[in-house]
Symmetry: C2
Subunit: 315 residues, 2 copies
C-alpha cells in the first residue's frame, strides 16, 4: 500500500500521475482510501464545482468541453468528471473521453476522468464527491461534473456542486412540462442548447415563465441562456453566468451555507459507509453467501440472514 500522506504531498505539488493514482484509489475504495481523503480534506473548498446535467442528447459533453476550453483560455485549470451510473465500465475507461475531448486533452491544465462506480459502497454521489475532493485538493480552479442522464442518482450527484447548470434542447420532450420535479429546483442556470433549431426561443420563454411562478423566497436565478455548443455561440455568456453565480453565492453567504449542508450530508454518508465496511465485507458477504441457498429454498428470509449478522456483530 502506498503511503497516503506521501501521495497526498506529491498530488498537491501538481503531479498528474499521482493524481490519477489517487483518484483510482478513492474510486475503487481500495484499503487506505479514507486515510488519503483525510489527508486531502483540509486542502479542499477552494475549487468552484459546477454540475452539468440534462437529458441524454442535450449536448452536455460538447458544452462541458466548450466550458473547459473557455476557462483554460482565461488561465484557469479545469478538472472534468464524467459520471455514468449505468455504464459497467469504470474509471480506467479514459480513452473514450480522451477522444471525445481531443480539443483539450493534451493540455496539462485540464484533467478528465470518467466514473461509473455503480456498486460503490456509500453510493455514487459520495464517490463522485470524493473524486472532486481529490481534484480540489490538487488545485483545480474549476471542477466540472457532467452526468449522462437526469434521474435521481444523477440529481444527487450534481446537487453537491456550487453551481448547477441544466442543459435542455428545443426537442427535449414536450418542453418543461416533462421535466422531473426536483430538476428545476436544483438548477441555478438554465441553458437551451442547439439554439439554432426551431422552437428554442419558445422553450426559453416557457422556462422563464415557470421560474417566475416560483415562490419569491426561492433563490434568484438568472435568465435562460441560449447556446450552440458545437460552434461556441453563447458559451462566453454561460462562462460569465457561472462565474457570476459563484461570486453572488460567496457575497450573500449562501456559498458557506450550502457547503455546510453538504458537509453534514457527506459526514453522514461517510459514517454509514464506514460502519458497513467495518461490519463487512467478510461478515456481510459471508452471511449473504451462506444464506443464499436458504433464502432461495424458502428455509430462511432475508430478515433472518440480517438477524444472524447482527448476532455475530454483537459477540
Amino acid at each position: 500500500m502506498t503511503d497516503p500522506a506521501g501521495l497526498a504531498r506529491t498530488l498537491v505539488e501538481g503531479d498528474h500521475a499521482a493524481l490519477s493514482r489517487a483518484i483510482s484509489w478513492v474510486e475503487n475504495q481500495s484499503p487506505g482510501f479514507d486515510q488519503l481523503l483525510r489527508e486531502l480534506f483540509p486542502r479542499t473548498g477552494r475549487g468552484h464545482r459546477i454540475g452539468v446535467t440534462g437529458p441524454p442528447g442535450a449536448g452536455k459533453s460538447t458544452l462541458t468541453q466548450a466550458l473547459a476550453r473557455a476557462w483554460r483560455t482565461a488561465g484557469h485549470t479545469v478538472g472534468v468528471v464524467a459520471v455514468d451510473p449505468t455504464s459497467p465500465v469504470s474509471g480506467g475507461a479514459l480513452l473514450g473521453d480522451r477522444i471525445r475531448m481531443t480539443g483539450v486533452a493534451l493540455d496539462p491544465g485540464v484533467y478528465i476522468r470518467s466514473m461509473a462506480t455503480r456498486g460503490a459502497l456509500g453510493g455514487l454521489a459520495l464517490s463522485t464527491r470524493e473524486v472532486c475532493d481529490v481534484l480540489d485538493a490538487a488545485g483545480f480552479d474549476r471542477i466540472l461534473v457532467e452526468t449522462v442522464g437526469v434521474g435521481q442518482a444523477e440529481l444527487d450527484v450534481v446537487a453537491a456542486a456550487d453551481t448547477v447548470v441544466l442543459v435542455l434542447t428545443p426537442e427535449s420532450g414536450d418542453g418543461i412540462q416533462t421535466l422531473k420535479a426536483g430538476l428545476m429546483e436544483v438548477a441555478d442556470i438554465f441553458v437551451v442548447n442547439k439554439a439554432d433549431r426551431p422552437l428554442a426561443d419558445r422553450l426559453a420563454r416557457e422556462i422563464e415563465a415557470a421560474l417566475q411562478m416560483r415562490h419569491p423566497e426561492t433563490r434568484e436565478v438568472g435568465p435562460v441562456l441560449l447556446t450552440v455548443a458545437t460552434d461556441g455561440s453563447g458559451v462566453s455568456a454561460l462562462v460569465e453566468a457561472v462565474d457570476r453565480h459563484r461570486a453572488g453565492l460567496a457575497q450573500s453567504g449562501e456559498l458557506l451555507a450550502r457547503r455546510r449542508r453538504r458537509l453534514a450530508e457527506q459526514t453522514r454518508r461517510v459514517v454509514e459507509r464506514t460502519v458497513l465496511q467495518w461490519a463487512g465485507p467478510a461478515l456481510v458477504d459471508g452471511a449473504v453467501e451462506e444464506g443464499r441457498l436458504e433464502v432461495e429454498s424458502g428455509q430462511a428470509t432475508p430478515y433472518d440472514i440480517a438477524e444472524r449478522v447482527l448476532q455475530r456483530l454483537r459477540r
Copy 2:
C-alpha cells in the same frame, strides 16, 4: 406496536385497511417492520411484477391505468405502486392517484399506492420491493410498478420486476440514440405510445433495428408494440405480450433464475440496512450531529467522525 403476525394474517385474508397499514409500516420503516416482512415473506413469489418505465410525458400513468383495467376485466386483481423518488410527499399522498386513476379506484380488486421515500435507509429500490412483497403476500395477481423518470434510481426500481415495459413516444428526444445505456438492456417489452402521432412507425423500426444488433445470447424480445393509451388502442396486445413474457420466463427456467439473483440482492441490501439500523440511528445521528461543527470549522474531517463512531461500536 401492532402485532406483526396478527396484521400479516388479516392482510392475507384480503382486508384493505390492514393492507394500507402494513404498507405504511413497511414504507416508513417503523419499529417492527422487518418482523412483519419476515412473516409475509413465505407468501411472496406468486404475483407477476411488471415494471413500467420511460421518460416523463410518455404516458406511463395512462398506460398503467389501461393495463390495470384490462387485467381486472380478465378477472385478475391488480396492485399499482407509483414511485417518484423526487417527490417530497410520501405514501399517504393517495388523493392525487385516486383522482388520476378514477377509472379503477373504486374497484376493491385494485389497490393503488404512491411511494416517495427518498431518504429510506437501504434505498428506494429495496423499499419499493418490500412494498411489492406486501402486495404479493396479500394475493394480488399483477403488481405494476410505475416510475416517474428513467434515471439510475428508477432503473434499479424496475429491474426488480419480472417483466419490464419501456414506454417511449415519437417525440422522445432524438429517438433511441438518446436512450441511456442500461435502459435498452433492462427492458423486455418496448412500447411506442401516442402512436397516432407522426414518426411513431419510424421510432418502432429504429428500436427493432437496435434490438437486432444485440448479441444473440441476449434474451429474446418481442416486436415493438404501438399503443394509444388514451383511447385503449394496442392495450390488449400489450397485455397479451406481458402475460406471454412471463409464461416464457417460467417455461425456460429464467423466471426462477431472475428471482434468485434478486433474492440475493435483496438479502444483501436488507443485511446492510440492518447493520446501519443497529449501529444507529442514535449512535450515527449523534456522532454526525456532534461532529458537524468540527467538520464545518475544519477541526475534523468526515473521516475522523466515522473513526469515532467505529471506536464506540467496538466498545
